[in-house]
Amino acid sequence: MMITGVTKRISAIKFAMLSPEEIRKMSATKIITADTYDDDGFPIDMGLMDPHLGVIEPGLRCKTCGKKVDECSGHFGHIDLAMPVIHVGYVKEIKKLLQSTCRSCGHLLLTKEQADEYVKQRDRIEELTGNTIESSYISAESAKDASSRTTCPHCSAVQLKITLDKPTTFREEGHKLTPKEVRERLERVPDGDLVVLGIDPGVCRPEWMVLTALPVPPVTVRPSITLDSGDRSEDDVTHKLVDVLRINQRLRENRDAGAPQLIVEDLWELLQYHITTYFDNQTSGIPPARHRSGRPLKTLVQRLKGKEGRFRSNLSGKRVNFSARTVISPDPMLSINEVGVPVTAARELTVPLRVTERNQVFAKEMCARGPSPEGPGYIPGVNYVIRSDGRRIKITDKNAETVAEGVETGYIVERHLVDGDIILFNRQPSLHRMSIMAHEVRVMPHKTFRFNLCVCPPYNADFDGDEMNLHGLQSEEARAEAKVLMRVQEHILSPRFGGPVIGAIHDHITGSFMLTYKGSAFTREETVRMLEKVVDLDLPEPAVKKPVEMWSGKQLFSMILPKDLHMTFKASICQNCESCKREACENDAFVVIRSGILLSGTIDEKALGAFKGRVLDKMARDYGPDKVRAFIDRATKLAVGAITMRGFTTGIDDEDIPSQAKREIDDAMVQAKLKVEEHIGAYRRGELEQMPGRSLEETLEVEIMKVLGKARDTAGQIAGRHLGLENSAVIMAKCGARGSMLNLSQMAGAIGQQAVRGERLSRGYWNRTLPHFEQGALGSEARGFIKNSYKSGLSPTEYFFHSMGGREGLVDTAVRTSRSGYMQRRLINALEDVKVMQDGTVRNTAGTIIQFIYGEDNIDPMRAVQGDSVDVDDVILTVLGDEGELIAKVREKGVVSYGIQDKDMLEPSSTAESDEDADFDAGGGEEG
């Protein structure tokens, strides 16, 4: 049997330095020749590819341990350096040590008492904080203190100033210190003084920071590749080691032959360069070592560092099996908990099924079907069988029967996905926890993943080519955990603002609007067609019996509401009249639900929408996830039924307005232009009255913006008079499905002023925006006012101005995403190990307290109502019914939408025009 579970626990990890003795001791062989292979292609003994260092070619055995390719992890070798060389990674420490110790006696430049005091302080802080970072500050402080002494308190020697010539040269008052001299000095530092500096002399002597032996990594770390042409291509690290060996050899020969000091020193420095770049090829101050082709070599530090490095790319970001990725598409007939998985994916993603006495027959039968059973519909098969001894057998059509025979308890059968399996579904960027949710599988034909449209908002998905990932769960624990914690229905309320993130969007909202808007009535045939999709619903008594049986939309919607639901709120189509007529509202915007019956009002974005749906919010709180899921599923089908019944389309003719209205808009534009010119005239004549706190120019700009803003609004109003609720675009805007009335007035009326940084356009040419205008022109056309609508078409200059305004929006979004992405990365790294413990405290993995009570009030934002633990108004309403409503009405709650801020509060406030423009452009950009 395979052993699972935790058998050992790591209590601590200690990092230390390798001593030259250790390097030689762990070495499998000494490396002396720079050549790798001989003429016959065999590795040279004591060369860089020595077979003692491990095996990379299949079939061969390691000369050190005798194991085969994947069994032997490789063995280190070593190079004995002719002369000592400084290790770049320790330059800072070496500098600190040289500066804080005596040049002649090697003692720390502190008196015994001072040193003891520092040690005492550090022990104390370690005891109090348990934090190595805090104590490292003390070590740094003591080193700094010692460095500032000019004479040694022990032998009274005068200290000279030591400087570091980056990256690896030390100088004493300008005189160069060779690595050999540095090493001698470090050797003199007594063990006792190292403790003060935060170094444990038991595992780490400072002279080891100056290398005399260099470890050579095993060949498995730097495998050579054989190209198609038969040539060998070596790893960058091997190339670098060849350089080191060559220079080391020459240095040794020259030194032994008694070559002039100058030549030896040059070679010594060259060796230092090669060893420095061997560790880090991006050391500042020296040119990076290059490949023959001119590409900088990727040496040790480069392998680890950065996004493509070992840590972020291979350790934090592992590739996984049992995952699938494909294009997504919508399917309103699926439950929000489900995901449609194509057959081809379902046959690749398997679930391990542990064979027991009880399922043995079933497992055998399944196994016998092989990896691709045919038949009417989808029949799950088996890809692999894992025997009790851990051997994995691939099932093929040929061996299926035989393997099935041998299946017994203790085997694991990897079966295909079937309907109802729990899997994880994900869309990048995974910005919040709702980006990965658990779904139930529905195996379907065709090649896309399909899911309910209500789940688009949490994934931020649309169907313009988006792809998503799916992960098959491989253990019972994982499946149970996913089902309880990660299922879609558990995430209807967002922990960000306590409102629904899963809810109706676009046509789903339009559909429920058309279903429930005042006067909606459906014949028997229409009603049945809508209800047949929503199973388990019986046809109710018709609202009107004569002359023909008719059912009202409100009546049909009430059928899916729970029987004890009471709610009162204003719908999205509400005009915010001065005095609300409540139930008598002519827009049918006052929603009243009593005992699960929709008495008045229209069901639109405010009731069902993602982020805003009040009904969803209340149901999720009061009835629990199962009930809301059922409600959302049924509402989806009903709304889709309603919109298909009537048919819904929008086109460019939705923005048609009568020619009379067009003339009115043109007039308004001419008026505005004249008025602007009037202001400019007044300004030029010096008659303009200055506003307090503004310069004359600013006053003029403010006045002009005011006039032009009003002109755009007037145009919108004129156009709006001809855009009624019979217009599809207006329906969408009013019920909150897509677009806004501002978008419509820009399409039908006028686009209005374009702005960059909240001001009218002014830059481009000398004192003018375009050469079409005179220098210094301040008029409306010259500064980016667009009097045309998107429908009527823009003039060339207007088009250019519009592009200028649009560009700002694009740049803003680009900058914002990159900046917030980096901020989020930092935040996640800081908070990744923080969790709420059972006693309500918030702690990290070290058990350190972050908060004594979660959020200082123990309120879970997901279950809180607008930040309060109890929604008092709701309780009053439920208990007192209509009577309570009077009390609630007195303090009409300011709940407009949940956690949605239309405006970025951190941006400097700009004029209304540019804000709305930005909003529009963002809407348009999403489509791309």
Partner: protein
């Protein structure tokens, strides 16, 4: 009341805050030095060792003020901080004084 930080008088026309006590500022929560006896109780209540508490530095303006008002505050002492909370009325937390 002992006065801790001193802001120099700048203009005669304005009423300047000459001296202030940070603990009296409305945005600064209340700080108390915990008596030795209660320390053990709190640590036991949360099942903590001293090093797992959040920290506050000796150089913190609040600690300097406390030191001046109610006698020396030393490394290793525990400060009880009580702040107002919109949702729960009052929130209490404890911090360990460390050097610096």
């Amino acid at each position: 009341m002992l006065l801790v930080s001193t802001v120099p008088r700048l203009w005669g026309d304005f009423e300047m805050v000459e001296e202030s006590n940070v603990l009296e500022h409305e945005l600064v929560p209340e700080h108390y030095v915990m008596p030795e006896k209660e320390v053990g109780k709190v640590l036991k209540q949360y099942g903590l060792t001293k090093d797992q508490l959040p920290k506050i530095r000796l150089s913190d303006p609040c600690i300097l003020t406390l030191d001046a008002i109610s006698g020396p505050v030393e490394e290793g002492m525990i400060i009880r901080i009580v702040r107002r909370s919109a949702t729960s009325g009052m929130a209490v937390c404890y911090r360990l004084v460390i050097r610096g």
